[in-house]
Amino acid sequence: MKNFKYIIILIIILCTAVSYAAEVSISARLGYSPAVGGSMSSGWQTENLGAPDGINSINRSQSGTGVSTVEVPVGAIAGADLRIIKDSIYYKAGIEYVHIISGGKGKTIDPATAEIVEVTYNQWSFDVPLTAGVALLFWGESRIYLGGGVAFAYGTYSNSFKSATLDHSASFTGYAIPLVAEIGCEYMLNERVSAGCDIKYIHGTSPIIDDGTDYARVDFTGFHITASAALHFNI
């Protein structure tokens, strides 16, 4: 939790900035993450399925077997944020919710018994990123910004493996303080409203979590791309 002090420092900077801010914007955003959850490895998979790298090593096939590839999990994202801009420097606080909507399911082969194993990976998380950086306004009509910071991330990763002789499922809930880098752009539709796009990279995993039958980390690492609509105010 030592990274909390950085969050507190950023919040203080954010609050300080409010009193001198030239522009405040509130935005809502929707998007997706092309790969969620990292490797989704766990101790049980390593020991019982010979898959030390989780989803990256779970797929096995052989002609004549009814397997289906466990594909990269894709997550849907919904979020909102508050941004303050003063003299081309911005400070931003937000919240994003990520939930797997496709991928992460399939059938593989247990190398020990040659049985077909139904595999399911799932993850949801939310993160509260606090970022700061440079926001450049071009001719009062469009803006590009680039920044970085940290986030508080909290979420649950779960897995399930079922075959004729196996029935294992586990769930891990944890938090992390990931690093965040972002680049975005927005176009002013009028004085108050803009439409934009944001690419964010979050990098961080939770400590190892033991649920009694399995142990794993919750991996929050990934790219987030979102489209946004924002309201702008001068204060």
Binding site: N56, R60, C185, A227
Partner: protein
């Protein structure tokens, strides 16, 4: 394949009705660690590096763009696993034919050009081979990967621009070779970052 055709038809029909700008051109690209050998746990390898050549199609409808085309990516440096850390797999030669399908927002920079970013993905037609201790396995994969794209168009003439583009894609194939028989368990990871430089011509700019 059906989805590709539908998207291309939609793309083409948009061209017919576009009041703004349709652009086409050529690009050269680079991908470090094609096949993502460095991301495979426990594997020690000289990673594969690909160079690419592609056709760029871009339709700009005011502040929104559609980006498609086709790109052929070929290894100029194969992936070589330096010991037996990948079992029987010794070498990779991943060839990627990619059809990007992206949409997003254009940020015009007045007379200088356009900054754009958006989401979508790419259809991948994977070919090449994986060399193992018992022979060579051909790669023949078709899949879709979600990704994101960002780029800059910098005007060199009123109807032509230089293009610099970055794409991140996440996609993994089904197993194509075996690290330890009898099962195929070695997949091709098409994920990663691609960068492209190119020139595009704007057909109906003004």
């Amino acid at each position: 394949m059906k989805r590709i055709v539908i998207i291309l038809v939609l793309f083409a029909s948009n061209i017919l009705y576009a009041e703004d700008k349709f652009s086409a051109g050529f690009s050269m690209g680079y991908q470090y660690d094609a096949g993502m050998l460095s991301d495979k746990r426990g594997i020690q390898a000289d990673v594969q590096q690909n160079i690419s050549a592609g056709l760029v199609l871009k339709l700009d409808m005011s502040r929104v763009f559609l980006r498609s085309g086709v790109e052929y990516s070929y290894p100029f440096s194969k992936g070589e696993i330096t010991n037996s850390s990948a079992g029987a797999v010794q070498e990779t030669e991943v060839i990627i034919t990619e059809v990007p399908v992206y949409a997003g927002i254009n940020i015009p920079l007045r007379d200088y050009g356009v900054f754009y970013m958006g989401g979508g993905g790419s259809y991948i037609f994977g070919s090449g081979r994986v060399k193992t201790s018992s022979g060579s396995e051909k790669i023949n994969e078709q899949l879709f990967g979600y990704g994101l794209i960002a780029g800059i168009e910098s005007e060199i003439y009123s109807d032509a621009s230089l293009l610099f583009e970055w794409e991140y894609l996440a996609a993994r194939s089904s197993p194509v070779a075996s690290t330890s028989p009898p099962y195929d368990d070695y997949y091709i990871d098409y994920s990663g970052h691609r960068v492209r430089f190119g020139v595009i011509y704007h057909f109906n700019r003004y």
